[in-house]
Structures are given as C-alpha cells and as structure tokens.
Symmetry: C2
Subunit: 156 residues, 2 copies
DNA sequence: TCAAACAGGACCAGGTTGGTCCTGTTTCGG
DNA sequence: CCGAAACAGGACCAACCTGGTCCTGTTTGA
C-alpha cells in the first residue's frame, strides 16, 4: 500500500505543531488534546523523537518537548527516517549484503538504489518549516525535472 | 518501515526482465526459473500486471506475457501504482474526503499533498528502460534541486 | 485431442503495526 | 520537604495485512 505508518504520520503532525513556536516547549498532554490524538500514543512517539535526537525533552513538572534545531533545518526525510527507519523502498541497501536472497543473480541492485535515492532526495527537499508554509516551496525543489513535458506520467 | 511490498518488488523485477526484449513474450514458468522466484507467486503478479494493463497476455500453449508499450514509456510510478495501489504516503488523498478522521482540524492537508506529490514525481521520473541502463539517468531527473548545497540533508 | 499456459478465486499462517498500560525517575512549586 | 506532574523505558496484546499456495476453469497450439 506504500503508506507511511501511523507512527510516522502522527509524528510529523506533532512535529509540525511544535514547529509553529520553535522555542517553546510543549508537554505531551497538551499536544494530545491539541491534535486530538490519544495521549499514550502521542507520548510514545514523542519519546521516540527525543531519543533519536529530533526533540529535546525537559523532565519533571512543567516539562515537555521542544525542537532541537530550527524547523527549516529539519527535513521530512529526517523525521521519516527516525519514525519509520531508513528510507528505502527495498531491502537492497548498500551496506547490508546478504539481506537479499537474490543477491547473486539480481541485476537490479544499482537500479533499486536509484529508486531509493530518488525518493530520499525528494523527501530531503522538504523542510518542516515548509510544511507550515506550503506555498513557499518552489516546484523545482519537489523534483519536477525542468519543464520538459514528461510523456511517462499518465493518469492515475 | 516504508518498504515496497514484495509484490511490487517482484513485479518490478519481472517487468525489468521483460523489458530486456520488449517484443518477445515470456511464459510465467520461464520467468519463474529465470528470476528464481516461486511460480505461483510469479503467476499471480503477472496476472495482476496484465489485468491492470501493463502487460499483454497470450493464452493457450506457447502463451505468455509481453510489455504493452515500450519500456521507456513505463515509469516506476506506473508499476508501483498497479502493484501497490496509488502512491500516497498518507490517507489524505484529495478526492477521498472523510477518510481522515482528523479532517476538520488537520491543518496539514495541503502539506501531505506536497509530500505525496514529491514522491510521485520522483518515481514518475524513472522509466523501466532506465532501470536496465541505470547509468543513463541524469541526476537532475532524480529530483536533485540544482546544485544548491542543501543544509538539511544530514547523515542518516 | 492433449497438454501447456493463462484467469480468477479462495484460503491460511505469520509478522508487523497500533495502541495500551505499568513501573520507575526527575523536577517544579508550595 | 513533599506531592503532583511529566518524562523514560519497557512489556504486552489484538487486529490487520501480506506473502504465498492451491484449485478449478478456459483458451489455444501442435
């Protein structure tokens, strides 16, 4: 189905919310009520984001979470990597030989890399701050190759 | 985990194999032995690809499958759409209101579209024939935004 | 006429995800 | 100095989806 997991989905929603006021910190219960997501889930995701270094946590009463760097320096790729693991459509990852049973006969290694890389680059091109101001993103940054009409992209 | 399903994975492998000799047609058993994938699975996937219009099937003895159009006019996006459903990282798809329970409060609709679109464009930019000749693909087509160094893409 | 190959389902086991809960530990405020 | 609010880090389980097989037609070349 090629979906993000809900964990990543919710995580990006939460990050986007935090990015509105980058320097404030927000407690998990507050974010849960604001986003109307269940608290245990929100809490779990925030903990993960903190552990992985995208959020800073402040313990104790009046604690909470805040962004660890400015939102324009956090990419969608960063968040998805943390929440859903490395961005790779297939198991053919360069530094993991032996994962793919077809390895010896598969002629496609380099090609999968290409696909993976294309997706990764596309996602690295969108920053958290741009998610809050979607209109600012130039199309070229989204991976639109020039203005050459592409005969391949049919309807879906 | 953001993986393609194995169905899509295998499907692309099979399509790539077919694309080597675009006009020939290949029987499922032949493809199964060539790719060393189990026949029932290969058969299932080929049937799907045929039903969805990416392959042409020839029934009867000496039957088989062949590409329905030249490999440079079949994009990776085409194949993934058929094998794994529409390319959308999240359920926020434009013509499906009501799917997302957060709809009324979610400020992100437009933004998810952006992410989905970026991925879709990246995958539309790679054709089946390029998968067989990976070196031919210019980087810009992969979505690399000019040569502006991107400070967001840190290590992973 | 037979065998090879496609068509279209039904079917099931296993793994992953989504979500909850529980037991610490830290820290602010009164 | 104490208690409540919040974070930390797991364990845990149900539900769903995927991966894969198999079976019964139908078509067609030799």
């Amino acid at each position: 189905m090629i979906r993000l997991t809900k964990q990543a989905d919710y995580g990006i929603v939460l990050m986007t919310y935090l990015a509105r006021i980058p320097n404030r910190h927000f407690a998990a219960p507050e974010l849960a009520t604001e986003t109307r997501l269940p608290l245990p889930t929100v809490s779990k995701i925030l903990k993960l984001l903190a552990r992985e270094g995208l959020l800073e946590s402040h313990r104790g009463a009046k604690g909470g979470y805040s962004l660890v760097r400015p939102p324009d320096r956090i990419s969608v790729a960063d968040m998805i990597s943390v929440l859903d693991g490395p961005i790779a459509f297939t198991e053919c990852i360069e530094d993991a030989p032996g994962v793919c049973s077809q390895e010896s006969i598969c002629q496609l290694r380099g090609n999968w890399q290409l696909i993976n890389q294309a997706v990764r680059l596309a996602l690295e091109g969108i920053s958290l701050s741009e998610l809050n101001h979607p209109l600012d993103i130039p199309l070229v940054q989204l991976g639109v190759p020039g203005d050459q009409a592409d005969p391949r992209s049919l309807d879906h």
